[in-house]
Amino acid sequence: MSNSPDNIVIQVDNVSKTFQTADTDRVGALENISLDIRQGEFVTVVGPSGCGKSTLIKLIAGLVSLSGGRIICQGEEVRGLNTKVGYVPQESKLFPWLTVEQNVAFGLDSKGYSKSERDQRVQHFIQLAGLAGFEKRYPSQLSGGMAKRASIVRALAYDPTVILMDEPFGPLDAQTRMILQDELLKIWEHKRQTIIFVTHDLVEAVALADRVVVMTHRPGKIRDVITVPMTRPRNIFEIHRQPGFDEAHAKLWNIFRHELNLKNGASAAVGN
């Protein structure tokens, strides 16, 4: 497993992305991003809306093409689709025409697991997501939280090297969100997959992460990377009381406050 140097699974090397929109307009989404992610690390990415967080995720997944730089996943440069990753989008995006079981099995069926291994894994992950008894249900018959859990284990089930999550808990209410964060951490403690998790919630970013990547707007750049010193396992429900939380959160908030001030200054200047 740990055959690459320093256990780096993903290496984002000086990556830029420019979108060519209609006519000659160009939108610079990312500029010279570099980031190394280690095996088993839980990295969160925060930043203002439109700073290129989703674009970064999609570049790592190979869903959009690079304008510059390179991304290396497990020693191989990403060209085209990166099927080593699992992807959890903002909305659950379970396939509504497949049952919960078929959804969780989708990646296994596509990647040629044997029948017995497939069934065993599907059952295991359905249990893990607390969805036992709901195997034959269709996604429209699930609550938002259940659908979210199913969506997460669907991405975990076929054992991708890295799991990319793009604001997966964004649209949920505060309680459900906290419960899911807790469940996600428990599942993760168990398997220790590498996770890159995009969020715009600073508390969530600190609570889950080993490291928080802070991005800035226009152009999308990495402003800072904060290491979260909290021990694991963590108690999501009393995260504020855990040593290390306040310190990391304050650091993060400082950066953001700075950003906001800058922005206000900029808009005032434009006003004149």
């Binding site: 997944a61 990166n82 699992g86 995006k93 996604p139 018959q141």
Partner: protein
């Protein structure tokens, strides 16, 4: 009745409601036929509207002579060939256009222009091209059915959520799985709509072709009967056409229920946590 029970309108069992609906419908249709029978020859000239009893007698006669069966069989063949071929090629073309931006860019304006042509106006051309036998009618059925299926499928493909496709590909789906496990199911509500809409049009296509030039078929039979004011025979033909459409709809409903099971199941089940 049960003044101390819950409100009957919301709580009566489903079968009672169904029974009521059937009963009312039965009386309505029965009343209509009765009125028709009474009106015929009394208030309205019998040769204009015939009557249910005359139609029944006419039916027995043309059935026994084999005339009805022969003509029905011809029309049935035209639909049985033109409809599935038109539906499948329509769906397939819609799918291909949806998948290939280049194809869509090249052909979309052409197809939209063709769509503007009233397609039944093409029927005489099909007669010229394919003769007065069944193949010209198969052609008309095909073209009507093709476009409806094409447009609905293509509209569905344009609505397709790219994130489903991305997810499936990231999970390692090959082409086949992507098409049959992801894209086609995602678009299936549109496909089913096109498919069902095209059913009556397939019958319209066959009959239109037969009206224009034919020596057999229900359209030919209806036109011939109307030409000599055998109104009862006309109604027999129309009734058979209705039955064909109803049967096709039943089959389509079965297909729909199977294909869209994931949509319909959601209503009856409640959810916890």
């Amino acid at each position: 009745m049960s003044s101390n029970g819950p409100t009957p309108s919301t709580n009566q069992p489903a079968w009672r409601r169904a029974l009521k609906i059937h009963a009312i419908r039965f009386f309505f249709v029965g009343g209509f036929f009765l009125l028709w029978e009474v009106a015929s020859g009394r208030w309205i000239e019998a040769f204009l509207i015939s009557s249910p009893s005359k139609i029944w007698l006419a039916f027995l006669k043309v059935y026994q002579s084999g005339e009805l069966t022969t003509n029905t069989w011809v029309t049935f063949q035209e639909i049985a060939i033109g409809f599935p071929v038109g539906a499948l090629t329509g769906i397939w073309t819609g799918y291909i256009f949806g998948r290939s931006k280049a194809l869509a860019d090249i052909f979309e304006p052409i197809i939209i222009a063709l769509y503007g042509v009233p397609r039944t106006a093409l029927a005489p051309l099909f007669i010229v091209w394919l003769g007065i036998g069944i193949w010209s009618k198969v052609g008309v059925v095909f073209i009507l059915v093709f476009f409806l299926n094409f447009f609905n499928t293509y509209a569905g493909m344009k609505q397709l959520d790219q994130e489903f496709v991305d997810l499936a590909r990231l999970m390692g789906a090959n082409r086949w799985r992507l098409s049959f496990r992801v894209i086609l199911p995602a678009v299936s509500p549109y496909i089913i709509t096109g498919f069902k809409t095209s059913i009556p049009f397939s019958v319209i296509g066959a009959i239109t072709g037969e009206f224009i030039a034919a020596t057999e078929g229900l359209g030919y039979y209806i036109r011939a009967a109307a030409g000599v004011f055998r109104t009862a025979d006309v109604f027999v033909g129309i009734a058979v056409l209705m039955i064909i459409v109803i049967l096709m709809n039943k089959v389509a409903d079965l297909i729909e229920r199977r294909v869209l099971r994931w949509q319909t199941q959601s209503e009856s089940v409640q959810v916890q946590g």
